[in-house]
Amino acid sequence: MIKKLFDRLRPHFSEGGKLHCFYSVFEGFESFALVSNETSKCGVNIHDCIDSKRIMSFVVIALMPALLFGMYNIGYQNALAANALEGSTWFSLWLFGCLVMLPKIIVSYLVGLGIEFTVAQWRKEEINEGYLVTGLLIPMILPVGTPLWMLALAVAFSVILAKEIFGGTGMNIFNPALIARAFLFFSYPTKMSGDKVWVAQDAIGQWGHALPEGTTMATPLGQLSANLDAQTSLSDMVVGLIPGSVGETSVIAIAIGAAILLWTGIASWKTMVSVFAGGALTAWLFNIGGLNTGIAQLPWYEHLLLGGFCFGAVFMATDPVTSARTETGKYFYGFFIGVLAICIRVLNPGYPEGMMLAILFMNMWAPLIDYIVVDRNIKRRAKRLKANQ
């Protein structure tokens, strides 16, 4: 029945049809609803049923625990700031968070997919499913107080300049979601850091609480960076009931996502483990190094639990397109992300969160790491060939 529906609609969208300018949209929806029955023309006659749609949809599934908890945490932080935790049900807290997040997700997808469809139409290519993940990641790595217009601007900037300009998904150098965050961070710093952006300020209908103007709530890393005592318990850090970007606070939710990605083999354990190893080692060195700032003396394991470290290690550093593509290179790539993230946190007082810049920086170096690994392979093989002759 669905096939017949698409067959009936196709002439309108095909060349010469009235709606031909929306052909990429039609094709995108058709390939979403029906698996293409295209058969192999040359090469292997049979194929594994894994494809990029499956991979992207599993990344989205892996993001769900962090997203759902992030929604709850939005309501929780709002109620906490309004001193109204008692009397609030978990569902009302989650629903408020959901109502806050839904417009952001919708705007992210509308703007991003709109650009992707336009580019696909222009290039006469099939729409790529890569934005399914990016479109969800962007609202999750931003503070809850980010205005929608700002989000739309960041999405447009990243999709056009970080992805499409390089040729689309699979060809980009930098992680588009992090480029969106970096764009906002440097363009609108007051909306991306400080202590006024981490809690939802306004009620939505009967849900949530309108907070008095000037209500602040700093992240633990923000407090430590200002040499204040963070007073956040280890359990809160693990569970995630702390202020922060929407998706990054709950270590448990992120761990569930990590388990899904590692089990399915979509994310590289080499990259993930190396990020934590690099971060733990660097934080430990700062612990024993004698630097007397609050953030330098934060125990190494708390460094890994706070901020965007876990989220970045699991969902951002493992992006197969922008990370190192050689298996050996993944160890170095991940390790240096961990090292850099902690260095930026500790050594740069103006920026308590270092994960974004660390990953973007290593995105830039990933091709060089691969080059070195491949070069070693070339030399090893050449040596063997020479010895054989």
Binding site: D48, I50, P320, V374
Partner: protein, 449 residues
């Protein structure tokens, strides 16, 4: 005997494996020499439609130096010269007279002959067309002698022929064939651990190497890579064990006999088994012995599902065909939201599907690509199934970008398209890796000529 253990690869089991039941087919009414038999040579047509030919009569010759000829496997009359675009020669079809008259004066093969005369005899009899050379994976041209000759005695591709069965009771032919080849260059036999006790494998005339690992450990390219890699200026010849038997049989009888035991596999045949038939026979002759099931659009494959090429029901097999398969085309299947369904019946190496719950279960796969063509997204997919110290992904990228120096440095001379077959199967971006590698090799060959 040295044992090479390889870990990378994928053993894929498909329904419709050929049991060891052998049927003999009568001499076909038509026979053809197809263009894929002379890949890498420029053919010069030596006959015209209506010409009478005998077994061993030259039909085409290499235009470059005329040393290698393609000979007729039957006696009869040239029925058709099939040409394609720009008059490209596609096939020479011969109508058989049923007499199988042999051409007189063909050179004989002797175990005492010199390397050059052995090669000359192989070229003049047309048996040279069963031999491919590395680098480039093309037919030999008879002008050079190889460094080594490699024969892989097993094939782990799904639905591939079992050479233990194919060579059984032809041990003498195989042994003689190896002795003939030994005249030309050192011969290396690649076997799997189960073949160490096989009667037809002997250490007397060849070096034996054991390859213990999943598919594609049976690929001769993988075996060459581990034993003695090929460089730009090397030349290594490869052939399958049954072709060795054909050479041996000619040496013993002085008569060309292109009869092969082809594995008939795939779940779209009503029954499976082996067919003893003349290589180059019409596919119709195979279907007369092994009927197709009704109901599905079927793809017939000259070869196995990973390495073979599509062949029409009115087409012909090749001189080097060792198996013919039939699997469902699948183009009438419209799967709603297939990319998110569990797909219990399908197969995937990814644990996002549930194939891992039924390891070793035979699958029935159709020819759909089950996805869409994308840029290379996931990393490490090729390396997991390429048991060579070659960075497959970077080699493919070098070919795509036309970077010849990089291709050479990354080892393009060591690979053939078939070495990337398993990688192409598991590729989530659905790139046509075998086509890409073939194009890369062809460009390099032209550059180096």
């Amino acid at each position: 005997m040295k044992v090479f253990k390889t870990k990378r690869g994928l053993n894929l089991k498909l329904t419709g494996e050929a049991p060891q039941n052998l049927i003999s087919a009568p001499l076909p009414a038509l026979w053809a020499l197809k263009e894929n038999c002379w890949y890498g040579l420029r053919p010069k047509l030596l006959v015209h439609e209506g010409d009478e030919v005998c077994v061993g009569s030259p039909l085409v010759a290499d235009k470059k130096n005329g040393l290698v000829v393609g000979t007729s496997a039957v006696s009869g009359k040239v029925k058709e010269i099939v040409r394609g675009d720009r008059r490209k020669l596609l096939a020479v079809v011969v109508e058989t007279d049923g007499k199988q008259t042999h051409l007189e004066g063909l050179p004989t093969l002797s175990v005492d002959a010199s390397p050059k005369s052995t090669v000359a005899s192989l070229c003049q009899t047309g048996l040279a067309l069963t031999i491919r050379k590395r680098p480039y994976d093309i037919c030999i041209d008879g002008t050079t002698l190889p460094r080594d000759i490699f024969v892989s005695c097993f094939n782990k591709m799904p639905l591939a022929a079992d050479f233990n069965f194919v060579v059984s009771k032809r041990e003498n032919e195989f042994e003689t064939g190896i002795r003939i080849l030994k005249n030309i260059a050192p011969v290396h036999l690649g076997i799997n651990p189960e073949q160490t006790t096989a009667e037809w494998i002997s250490e007397e005339d060849a070096s034996i190497h054991i390859f213990d690992g999943p598919n594609p450990s049976g690929n001769v390219g993988v075996q060459i890579h581990h034993v003695s890699p090929v460089g730009k200026n090397d030349e290594v010849w490869t052939l399958d064990p049954e072709s060795v038997c054909l050479i041996g049989a000619y040496a013993l009888t002085a008569k060309l006999n292109w009869t092969r035991r082809m594995a008939i596999g795939g779940d779209q045949f009503e029954k499976n088994g082996y067919l003893e038939v003349l290589a180059g026979c019409p596919v119709k002759d195979i279907l007369a012995n092994y009927a197709l099931k009704d109901g599905h659009t079927v793809r017939l494959i000259d070869g196995n599902p990973l390495v073979g090429s599509r062949v029409a029901a009115d087409g012909f097999t090749s001189l080097t065909t060792t198996s013919v398969c039939a699997i469902a085309e699948g183009n009438e299947t419209n799967e709603v939201l297939g990319w998110i369904r569990p797909r219990f019946k399908d197969f995937s190496v990814s644990r996002s599907y549930f194939s891992w719950l039924q390891k070793g279960k035979a699958r029935s796969l159709d020819c759909r690509i089950k996805g869409a063509h994308r840029h290379m997204i996931m990393s490490g997919e090729y390396d997991r199934v390429l048991p060579m110290d070659i960075m497959g992904e970077f080699l493919i990228k070098a070919i795509l970008t036309g970077d010849i120096d990089r291709q050479e440095a990354l080892g393009i001379y060591e690979v053939a398209p078939e070495d990337f077959a398993v990688a192409e199967f598991v590729d989530s971006s659905k790139l046509e890796l075998q086509r890409i590698v073939r194009e890369g090799l062809d460009i390099l060959r032209k550059e180096n000529e």
